[in-house]
Symmetry: C2
Subunit: 141 residues, 2 copies
DNA sequence: TTTAATTTTGTAATCAGTACAAATTTCTAT
DNA sequence: ATAGAAATTTGTACTGATTACAAAATTAAA
């Protein structure tokens, strides 16, 4: 329960109630929520929470590398508290985002990263797929 | 010169003057321009051009698969008329976007695509890198 | 050559994200 | 403890990219 507090501190993040709440939400909801979703969910139990705080916190979390901000959806940012290397798939029909484990613990991404990148200092890699998820494929229409 | 017209027609796009102008611009400017940049550049020689037309046209181009809309920059969409499979690198300092050729003509991406994607119908793949470009690395401060 | 279909245009609206300064909370040093 | 400094949170106002929409213009078809 209080593990999150220690986790944040270990990452150099002061564990304010808001930050703990946001981090907990992200850890419990791995469905790549939007900022809006985070705010809406926490707003009820924490009525004073401001949307600006959510944005500030997420920017801090990204800097401290405890959260990824995904740009796979052109509408709005999606959050992901899983930092192990993995790719993402978004269904163009239902909009859901799925994690895609990259074989060999990201070695593939490493390989990719090597090609032609001479002189480029790569700090982040994002792999995005778009298409139709299994559930939507078996839908009539 | 008039090749573009035929190219568009071959892709099922009616070659209006606006569409030809936009396509030509994208083919001549492979530096992943923004929508704004396209509009600004063409607006002078084609004063009646509307920004809405640029947006409409680009959406059409994407549907017809003659242009990619890149979401690598969180601020605004970037355009790319190169449809051969390749990745992109954005410098976090200067903001420039570079093409990264994926070795073996996209076979690497194909490999990635295979893993764990059972049941998922992949239609697009985007690989985004972020970091510091060679030029910005050799900059003081 | 009138009618229908397509495309373009301009304006207004939307909506995610940011700037900013006041208010609050937390930390530190007495 | 407690005053003052530092960090954090909050609310409001703003920005700026993108979209909605309906009228105007262009093109195709009969």
């Amino acid at each position: 329960m209080e593990k999150v507090q220690e986790y944040l501190m270990s990452k150099g993040i002061r564990p304010s109630p808001q930050r703990i709440a946001i981090m907990n939400y992200l850890l419990d909801n791995c469905n790549h929520p939007t900022v809006e979703a985070v705010y809406d969910a926490l707003h009820t139990s924490m009525p004073t929470l401001s949307k600006t705080t959510v944005y500030n916190t997420l920017k801090l979390f990204e800097e401290k590398k405890v959260v990824q901000l995904l740009n796979i959806d052109e509408r709005n940012v999606r959050l992901d508290a899983t930092m192990e290397p993995h790719a993402h798939f978004q269904c163009m029909r239902c909009g859901k985002i799925f994690d895609v484990s990259v074989k060999n613990g990201g070695k593939m991404a490493e390989l990719l990263r090597m090609n032609e990148m001479t002189g480029f200092e790569v700090q982040q890699t994002q792999i995005y797929y778009k298409g139709i998820c299994p559930h939507c494929q078996s839908e009539k229409e």
